[in-house]
């Protein structure tokens, strides 16, 4: 447990393993929301906007600031992983996912997008830290928000693998579909070499790096499945045996 080198760092090949310091990565990651807030503020200062535009821009400033604050909060949390004890407890992922959906709906709606939960038909219980798992799923969802097409929903899904030993929570997005030949070519290349979990291009990958650290702290593992029309970022966690006792 903690901020020591974990499995995710080998897989990720992320910003910190590329020689980029976490400070530089954080600075880069925060540039985009800050640049947007600044542009909107400058336009509001200018005053030449309609009341409707003004209201919309203020909302965008609030939501963009919240996004930047989430990242800084996650960064702080990740730095303290090594000197903190995290309680791992049985968690009902369905309840957690529904809470996350409620939290993210306004952000997605403001981007003319939707996020929905696809429940598993069977009740599942996993072992995790509620706060860290919530942060991971919000991170995946935030990543998906900027990739998803505006008329498509981002989906949070729950399933079990490894004969029920592992619970997988995935965030599926639907982006522009690659031509089938391109996908085949990509898949061919992917099978020839182990590939890292890449963040979306506009990101330094810091968010996913942090998600990987959080997963390590819960003895979990993050991964990604590429689809022709998007991707599923997922975390695998140990299933709780408590359910079998019921």
């Amino acid at each position: 447990m903690g901020a020591t080198t974990g499995e995710h760092e080998r897989i990720l090949g992320g910003p910190l393993t590329d020689g980029l310091s976490s400070f530089v990565a954080a600075a880069h990651e925060l540039k985009s929301p800050l640049a947007l807030v600044r542009q909107l503020s400058l336009t509001l200062e200018d005053g030449d906007v309609t009341p409707v535009e003004r209201s919309r821009m203020l909302r965008q400033i609030s939501l963009t600031s919240e996004r930047a604050l989430r990242l800084t909060s996650d960064l702080t949390r990740s730095v303290r992983l090594s000197d903190a004890m995290f309680t791992l407890e049985p968690i009902n992922p369905q309840q957690l996912c529904e809470d996350i959906i409620r939290e993210l709906k306004p952000l997605f709606a403001a981007h003319d997008r939707d996020v929905k939960f696809v429940p598993n038909k069977n009740p599942l219980l996993l072992v995790a830290n509620r706060d860290l798992l919530r942060r991971i799923l919000i991170n995946f969802s935030d990543n998906a928000l900027y990739y998803a097409e505006s008329n498509m929903s981002v989906e949070i899904r729950i399933g079990s693998i490894n004969k029920g030993e592992t619970i997988r929570l995935g965030v599926r997005d639907y982006g522009p579909a690659l031509p089938i030949n391109t996908l085949k070519s990509l898949k061919s290349k992917l099978t020839q070499a182990s590939t890292p979990i890449h963040a979306r291009p506009q990101s330094s990958g810091l968010g996913l790096y942090i998600a990987g650290q959080f997963a390590d702290a819960m003895n979990g593992k993050i991964g990604v499945t590429q689809h022709r029309d998007g991707a599923t970022f997922y975390i695998d966690l140990q299933a709780s045996r408590q359910l079998s006792l019921l």
Binding site: K31, L36, D46, H111, P176, P201, Q202
Partner: protein, 123 residues
């Protein structure tokens, strides 16, 4: 010059709308494409006189798009303005072969910089 078609290729929708708002008020006809594939479709439809391009795009990067545009005679001549957070890591000399005429730093620009850049490349 006024009324000229400008294509904004930017994957942050709110920032794209902000650029569109600024350019529209300055008299340009601004269209948004949120990724490189949408940009290729939009270029055929709106025949932009200038393209404002973010570097780190969803899916294909700006360089893949610029390379594609340079491969065709009718699109290779469209002037490109890079509007990016990576401005400090790029030089105009390095990207000029891709048709880039200006580089704007997203982190330090003011809205008027966008209008000034578009006007300057259209002159």
């Amino acid at each position: 010059m006024n009324g000229a078609s400008v294509l904004i290729v930017e994957d942050d929708k709110w920032l794209a709308e902000q650029h569109q708002r600024v350019l529209t008020k300055a008299g340009f006809k601004a269209t948004i494409a949120l990724h490189a594939i949408a940009a290729i479709h939009a270029i055929d439809e709106v025949h932009p006189k200038v393209i404002i391009l973010d570097v780190l795009l969803t899916g294909n990067t700006a360089f893949a798009l610029m390379h594609e545009l340079q491969s065709y005679g009718d699109t290779g001549g469209i002037p490109i303005i890079l509007c990016t957070n990576l401005a400090s890591e790029l030089t105009i000399e390095n990207v000029a072969p891709y048709g880039v005429k200006r580089i704007i730093n997203k982190a330090t620009m003011v809205p008027a910089d966008l209008v000034a850049a578009v006007r300057s490349v259209l002159q």
